[in-house]
């Protein structure tokens, strides 16, 4: 991606909000990134179009999954700094609590960084960080070789 390439060429960290805003599906979900030094928090601002179960009401499981996946991708892109977006190989999502109709926050940690693949763990929470609503574990391809993409 151009934004990533430019940042890599200039040897600086990428502007994460600009990166997220360049991804149409992230714009559709309304994902924002809060960066404090090297600590990243992604924010899924509540909006009625994110509801999956209108009776409860609860956030859509797929939306929570997409949010966690984006959180993992952003963290990986930030730390690894390749020229293209990390590509998901497999993800495993555990749904721990129902997502209430409020803002959701996400953080990801790279558990293991390999040459081609990273293992990432991400969590999403609402009021309390210690009470996650969902967690993701996954592998993402980070091969910087453009020919491979």
């Amino acid at each position: 991606m151009q934004i990533l390439k430019a940042a890599a060429a200039e040897g600086r960290k990428v502007d994460l909000q600009a990166l997220v805003d360049a991804i149409p599906y992230c714009r559709f979900l309304g994902i924002r990134v809060d960066r404090k030094g090297t600590e990243l928090t992604t924010i899924l601002t509540f909006s009625p179009h994110l509801i999956g179960n209108p009776v409860l009401p609860a956030l859509h499981g797929g939306v929570i999954g997409a949010f966690l996946e984006t959180t993992a991708i952003i963290q990986t892109a930030f730390e690894i700094g390749g020229a293209s977006l990390p590509k998901p190989v497999d993800i495993n999502i555990d749904y721990l609590r129902s997502g209430r109709p409020v803002d959701t926050f996400g953080r990801a940690v790279i558990t293991k960084q390999g040459r081609r693949v990273v293992n990432v763990h991400a969590e999403a929470w609402q009021d309390e960080h210690t009470k996650p609503i969902a967690a993701l574990r996954g592998h993402f391809l980070v091969a910087s070789d453009e020919a491979e993409s």
Binding site: M1, Q2, A22, I23, P24, Y25, C26, R27, F28, L29, G52, N53, V55, L56, H60, G61, G62, V63, G65, A66, F67, E69, T70, L85, K87, P88, V89, D90, I91, N92, I93, D94, Y95, S98, S149
Partner: protein, 130 residues
């Protein structure tokens, strides 16, 4: 997203290609989260048709393996089969593809909790003879 078929313990859904679903603006490939959403939903529907529980279902976990990127501008289909239902849990496998089930974009396995708290009693199927 539209539901095309739901019978036995299976469901088939389609999500048409849309620019707002793009995950990589340079290639036009759909965001992985869209596939997640589609598979979660399709698996949930398969559980719904198998158990006759509507709404009283919660995803416990969902594992997705991405086989290849989706082809831009093509609709995505998702098929799910609820192959086992126990007292509390339903197990489902599913796949997302364009035209050929043998050439999937992604496969998934999921487990669902049945008769979740918020719905308990409200949505369970009537017992025989009631």
């Amino acid at each position: 997203m539209t539901l095309l078929e739901a019978s036995g313990g299976t469901a088939l859904c389609r999500v048409p290609y849309d620019e707002k679903l793009i995950g990589n603006p340079e290639t036009g490939v759909i965001h992985g989260g869209v596939i997640t959403s589609l598979l979660d939903n399709t698996c949930g529907i398969a559980v719904g048709v198998k158990t006759k529980l509507v709404g009283a279902i919660a995803t416990l976990d969902l594992r997705i393996d991405y086989m290849k990127p989706a082809t831009p501008k093509q609709d995505i289909l998702a098929f799910a089969d609820c192959y086992r239902v126990s007292r509390n849990i339903a197990f489902v496998r599913g796949l997302a593809y364009h035209t050929d089930k043998d050439d999937p974009i992604a496969t998934c396995t999921a487990a669902f909790m049945l008769g979740t708290k918020s719905f308990r009693g409200a949505n369970l199927p009537a017992k025989e003879g009631e």
